[in-house]
């Protein structure tokens, strides 16, 4: 059958809207600030062939992985799903990310047969395991990271399975919060089901299926056009993750992109073998990085669905870091390796389409997990990620202090933290001179400093780019490295490694410096007026203005004294 263009356009809009409305339902009814305030969740709709049809623009790393969860997770339940059923899973080797990400999938029925699926993924603040927040930096296998949930029917014909709920409750630190968020995830899927039902009623299942196929074909055609416009060739890039192996050794991610006509092959041969540190990235994370790069370097207005990714072939050697084998630990794959994965792909893309690719952004999420007990004995846990510098772009400076690439979660207000948790903040500001010098400067990183005000707590840090800085492009210089410093209550100061778990005590102060973005283009070509403005605004020192940019600035009047360039 043929569906007219306008109907396709209207159905496309309605499906994206339905996915967005799922996100709003989830956010509204969720319990934890992580979802409510930081919006660490994503929603999507799939067709009966389990192809991604529409997604709400939330967290990029969830994007590729949710498609995988739906494709693989439903395999066991083929033919046994009934209306009102919902599956829950978090097994990274099926759902594609890490244990705290709980995926909930609901079949959508019309006249007795499945016409599609509503699914969502939400980052829970705890799913058990050895450390509060379930992001331990020192796990050596998956089982230490928390409760592993294979695809299970948590909801049967609309009724929550109390045995399974009890099992989950007993394995997490804050069961009320987890169950509240799970309820919200159920509500989100119900919203998606309702909207698709309405579309079926209005247009009929056949028209709906055809329209969904047409939208995917459209996205495929647009993506193939974009790829065709790129020069054919084989492009390779490598980047590193630091201090992973014994003796401060690094591991590498290598990608080779073969671009031929209107298709691309991504080959990860040469990537380091999986490690017994929690930085392995399940396939869902690997794919998400490719999808993110592809969408953001071509045309972000192409509707995101499975059609976009038909031109892509993937070769990831089994057992390498980007396609690990159970039970390799994966907690940080989703948050750290995912950022490096994008860096590597972007680096390769910078050879293909140099005018569309920025220099490296901070390349980490600076994950902080912390928990302990309050003075009155109440247990507490907290998780946050901290923004940094955005890489300089081919036509503009990188943005200062912002989340980049695979994450986009919000911060928690300082006044909220001081009111509820044992923190006293000293600083939250931009880091001068951390933006990589360039014709277009990299964005500055952030300083976030606080003192613990309760007797003791377990602090977990999982971060990157403390040793190998974010790279510049086209003669742009690298961004400033990140740094974690602990000032003990007695004044002793120690530099902390980028990945560690440790006990801290009342009065201890943690100084977090996040990396800046790399610069783009030769800093000697930067408009001297922009250098002057940066100095006056205190984001670039007059020393750096002179050494890196060749611009001498009067330290009191902020006027340009001289410009020395070859």
């Amino acid at each position: 059958m043929k569906v007219d263009l306008t109907t396709v356009e209207v159905i496309k809009g309605a499906l994206i809207y339905a996915a967005e409305e799922m996100g709003i339902a989830l956010k509204k009814s969720a319990y934890s600030p992580n979802i409510k305030e930081r919006m660490d969740h994503s929603c999507a709709l799939f067709n009966h062939r389990r192809e991604l049809i529409a997604q709400a623009e939330h967290i990029p790393v969830h994007l590729g992985s949710m498609a995988m969860a739906v494709r693989v997770g439903l395999e066991v339940y083929k033919g046994t799903l009934e209306p009102g059923d919902m599956l829950l899973l978090n097994d990274p080797y099926i759902s594609g990310t890490h244990l705290p990400d709980l995926t909930m999938i609901a079949p959508i029925f019309s006249e007795g047969s499945i016409i599609g699926y509503a699914a969502n993924k939400a980052h829970h603040t705890d799913i058990g395991g050895k450390a509060p927040g379930s992001l331990a930096a020192d796990s050596t296998e998956l089982y230490q990271e928390g409760l592993v949930i294979p695809p299970v029917k948590l909801v049967r014909k609309g009724v929550l399975d109390s045995d399974l709920s009890n099992l989950i409750r007993s394995n997490v630190r804050t069961p009320l919060v987890q169950m509240g968020d799970i309820r919200a995830q159920i509500a989100a899927n119900n919203t998606g089901i309702k909207r698709v039902d309405e579309l079926v009623e209005q247009y009929g299942a056949e028209t709906l299926h055809q329209a969904m196929d047409d939208v995917m074909d459209y996205s495929e055609r647009r993506m193939r056009e974009e790829i065709s416009a790129m020069p054919d060739g084989v492009y390779s890039a490598v980047d590193y993750m630091e201090s992973i192996l014994p003796g401060d050794g690094d591991v590498s991610i290598t990608v080779t992109i073969t671009k031929n006509g209107d298709s691309m092959v991504f080959d990860y041969s040469g990537t380091s073998d999986m490690v017994d540190r929690p930085v392995n990235a399940p396939l869902g994370v690997t794919v998400a990085g490719i999808y993110f790069t592809l969408i953001s370097t071509t045309d972000p207005t192409i509707p995101v669905n499975d059609g976009c990714f038909r031109p892509i072939t993937l070769k990831v050697p089994e057992g390498c870091m980007m396609n690990p084998i159970r039970p390799a630990p994966v907690a940080g794959g989703n948050v750290e390796t995912s950022q490096r994965n994008v860096d590597v792909i972007m680096k390769a893309f910078s050879q293909i389409i140099p005018d569309k690719v920025p220099a490296a952004s901070q390349g980490t999420m600076n994950n902080i997990t912390i928990g302990g007990t309050m003075r009155d004995g109440t247990p507490w846990t907290f998780y946050e990620t901290i923004a940094g510098g955005n890489g300089g772009r081919p036509t503009s400076d990188g943005v200062d202090g912002v989340h980049t690439n695979m994450t986009n979660t919000m911060n928690t207000p300082i006044e909220t933290l001081e009111a509820y948790l044992p923190f006293k903040f000293k600083a939250y500001r931009l880091r001068p001179d951390s933006g990589g010098p360039g014709k277009f400067r990299g964005g500055c990183g952030i300083e976030r400093t606080w003192t613990l005000t309760s007797p003791k707590a377990v602090l977990g840090i999982m971060a990157e780019r403390n040793k190998i800085p974010p790279w510049g492009l086209q003669d742009g210089k690298p961004g400033g490295k990140g740094k974690f410093t602990l000032i003990r209550a007695n004044g002793d100061t120690e530099r902390l490694p980028s990945k560690c778990t440790m006990e801290i005590h009342e009065g201890d102060t943690l100084v977090i410096l996040t990396p800046g973005g790399g610069g783009f283009g030769d800093p000697k070509e930067r408009d001297p007026e922009h250098v002057r403005r940066d100095v006056e605004n205190g984001l670039v020192s007059k020393e750096s203005a002179l050494d890196d940019y060749g611009v001498e600035i009067d330290p009191s009047s902020y006027e340009i004294i001289g410009v020395k360039r070859k």
């Binding site: 263009l5 809009g13 009814s29 990029p60 009320l176 772009r393 036509t395 912002v402 919000m410 207000p413």
Partner: protein
């Protein structure tokens, strides 16, 4: 006496005058003067005064877009140099914001331009903790140094915002005192005075937005006042705020952040008033103008509000994109918006038809206006489908050219492989699907079943699209007010004065002392009463609404519920019960065993103003004149439709039909009946499925 309102829009400045004695309403439309909007206001008033005495005017209501346009960086409206004084270590809170980017997949994203450049952000050593205890004293010597530094700059306005100042504003007050003494010509805003709630970024942002707007608004109000005086108008000037209430112009001049969405709010207020007049409680207001369509909800005659908004932000699929604008924490009439207006352009992009976001605006306007516009717009599509008069608009004042509309759509039609009429119909269907989404956002998404609501359609283009939208949402009752194109301006005559106050509480409910809460409310009431007295409102007309922001301990979102006057343990526990009920209504569940927390005590102070009431409208402007025209409808294709002049109708008719009038055209779909009510509204009802 006559009450006059002036609503400044992008294209037209509308004046509505209501004669309290006769009940008569006068409508005047004049072109806006974007570079100096007060000139447009004066033009409209001069036209009105050519037939009326200045002394007959008892009040002037006003809505302005000057605040929004300043923040949007419109040419000719310069953003004044503004400084921020904050706690040591936190000068970049205002820039980092919530650390998100507004567009996830756009590698070239930008933050909205900083309103306070980093070089103008000053830090001082001071610290107050979360309980309001001063931990580090602000050193007067350091403050003096800062004041001297500021004296050497050309800063026009200063915002002061310290960490935890909501808990204790002592240091902000110290700085304000010092600055007002030493820098008498500089405008000052303290964060605790403008938004006394926790969450530092939102409070500081509200303060900065206010600081930036103060010089602009002060100049604007001063100019306007002087011009009014020259015209002999001495009646009080009230300005519409984003919360749907008015405030006297001198108060607005020092609190301009309250008026950033002043115009759009007026339409929803007008809808609520129309509900009063017609006895309807639940309304979705639908306003479609030249560049955008906006939807709002009125429940139980009360417009829905949100506690915070991002000014000058971008809209994606009807919703504001978080992080794209400047947060302002005041109650805002809750509106969903999309770029679908009469002038919105349809284009073929990569083989698919797209509507918006670009609009042809007033210049050059739709292709059919013959002013040089080449792009195909929604107005052109309506013309091609027979829905608009084929010769002229504005009751003959403006000639239109159907052949130019057809020419524009032919271009689209060729690349789509369809007929020009089909292309036009497609553009309307896509625009309608966008607009049905914003109607859903304000109803379905908030848990309301739209089938129980009436749809009030206004704006020049609203009544043309309303039937299709009503069918989509299964709404069976539509009201088209007498002058849809002037309805927002009329709304300015239907509002009361509002002043909103907040006192932070942040305590678990078992720790809350009802006596202390009562003190908080009493002190806010005192401030409010004094303000109303200054605005010339008699104490008989003062009203007070007390509410509490409550939430489950540790949750991020509060719900606002009413609370008793006076506050007693019993009234407090009633509020808690109300909270659980509201939580169930909004979020689908309530956890009654969970501890609760009172976050804020809020007071709305209301000064009641007289409202116009529509008079019985029995006169018709002559006999029912009817002609027929070929009109295209989705369900029937081309059919003969009856065409009437608004005001000439009598009795119940059945669509398809077109009702034309000066400021709008109503398109009645097949399957709908229409009848004028006794107040001159056109009532549309669905008669067949």
């Amino acid at each position: 006496m006559i009450r006059v309102s002036v609503d400044v829009g992008g294209t037209f400045t509308d004046l509505v005058a209501f004669n309290e004695e006769t009940g008569g309403i006068i409508n005047i439309k004049t072109p806006s003067v974007p570079k100096s909007p007060e000139k447009g206001v004066i033009h409209a008033l001069k036209q009105f005064l050519s037939e009326h005495e200045p002394s007959s005017v008892s009040m002037i209501g006003h809505a302005t877009t000057i605040a929004t346009n300043t923040l949007l960086g419109q040419v000719d409206l310069e953003v004044p140099e503004t400084a921020l004084i904050t706690t040591l270590g936190f000068k970049d809170v205002i820039e980092i914001g919530r650390q998100r980017r507004a567009e996830v997949y756009n590698l070239f994203f930008q933050r909205p331009p900083q309103l306070v450049e980093r070089r103008h952000r000053y830090e001082v050593v001071e610290r107050v903790n979360t309980a309001g205890i001063v931990e580090t004293q602000l050193d007067p010597a350091e403050l003096e140094g800062l004041v001297n530094k500021l004296k050497k700059t050309n800063v026009a306005s200063v915002a002061v915002g310290f960490i935890n100042s909501y808990a204790n504003p002592v240091h902000e007050s110290m700085v304000m005192d010092a600055l007002s003494k030493s820098l008498p010509d500089v405008y000052l805003t303290a964060s605790h005075m403008i938004s006394n709630e926790y969450r530092e970024y939102e409070r500081l942002s509200t303060a900065v937005v206010n600081a930036v707007l103060m010089p602009v608004m002060h100049t604007y109000i001063t100019n306007l006042d002087r011009n009014l005086n020259e015209l002999g108008l001495t009646a009080p000037l009230y300005v519409m705020q984003s919360n749907g209430g008015m405030a006297k112009s001198n108060i607005i001049a020092s609190k301009p952040a309250t008026v950033v969405e002043s115009g759009p709010a007026a339409g929803v207020i007008a809808s609520a008033w129309l509900g009063e007049q017609t006895g309807i409680r639940d309304i979705i207001s639908f306003d479609m103008g030249g560049t955008t369509a906006k939807a709002g909800t009125v429940r139980g005659r009360i417009p829905e509000v949100v506690p915070e908004y991002e000014v000058a932000g971008t809209i994606h699929m009807g919703r504001l994109v978080k992080g794209s604008g400047y947060p302002v924490r005041f109650p805002f009439i809750d509106l969903a918006e999309c770029s679908a207006g009469g002038g919105t352009i349809a284009k073929v992009v990569n083989g698919s038809l797209q509507v918006g976001p670009v609009s042809a605006g007033a210049e050059p306007g739709p292709a059919c206006y013959g002013q040089g516009g080449k792009d195909a717009t929604i107005t052109d599509a309506n013309l091609m489908l027979g829905r608009l008069n084929q010769e002229s608009l504005l009751s003959g004042d403006m000639e239109i050219h159907p052949e130019l509309a057809k020419k524009a759509y032919k271009v689209l039609a060729e690349s789509l492989g369809v007929s020009p009429e089909e292309a036009a119909m497609s553009a309307i269907r896509i625009a309608n699907s966008m607009m049905s989404k914003i109607l859903r956002i304000v109803s379905v998404e908030r848990g309301y079943d739209p089938r129980g609501f009436s749809l009030v359609a206004f704006g020049g283009a609203g009544p043309m699209h309303v039937c299709a939208l009503a069918e989509e949402l299964e709404i069976n009752h539509i009201i088209v007010p007498p002058n849809p194109g002037m309805f927002s301006a009329l709304g300015l005559l239907t509002a009361d004065l509002f002043h909103d106050y907040t006192s932070p509480v942040i305590m678990e409910t078992n720790e809350v002392d009802p006596g202390k809460l009562e003190d908080m409310f009493s002190s806010m009431e005192e401030t409010g009463r004094a303000t109303l007295m200054k605005e010339g409102i008699h104490p008989d007309q003062h009203r007070f609404q007390r509410t509490l922001d409550i939430r489950y301990s540790g949750q991020g979102f509060e719900l606002n519920v009413e609370t008793g006057n006076p506050v007693t343990p019993a009234s407090l526990s009633e509020s808690l019960i109300a909270f659980h009920e509201k939580h169930r209504e909004v979020y689908g569940y309530a956890a009654e065993d969970e501890p609760l927390e009172v976050v804020n005590a809020k007071l709305r102070v209301i000064g009641l103003l007289d409202k116009p009431s529509l008079k019985e409208n029995k006169e018709r402007i002559g006999d029912t004149e009817m002609e027929t025209r070929r009109v295209y409808f989705e369900s029937t294709g081309w059919v003969d439709a009856e065409v009437y002049q608004r005001g000439s109708l009598d009795g119940v008719h059945v669509g398809p039909a077109i009702v034309e009038q000066y400021d709008s055209t109503t398109v009645i779909y097949p399957g709908w009946s229409y009848v004028p009510d006794r107040l001159g509204n056109l009532i549309l009802r669905r008669v067949a499925q």
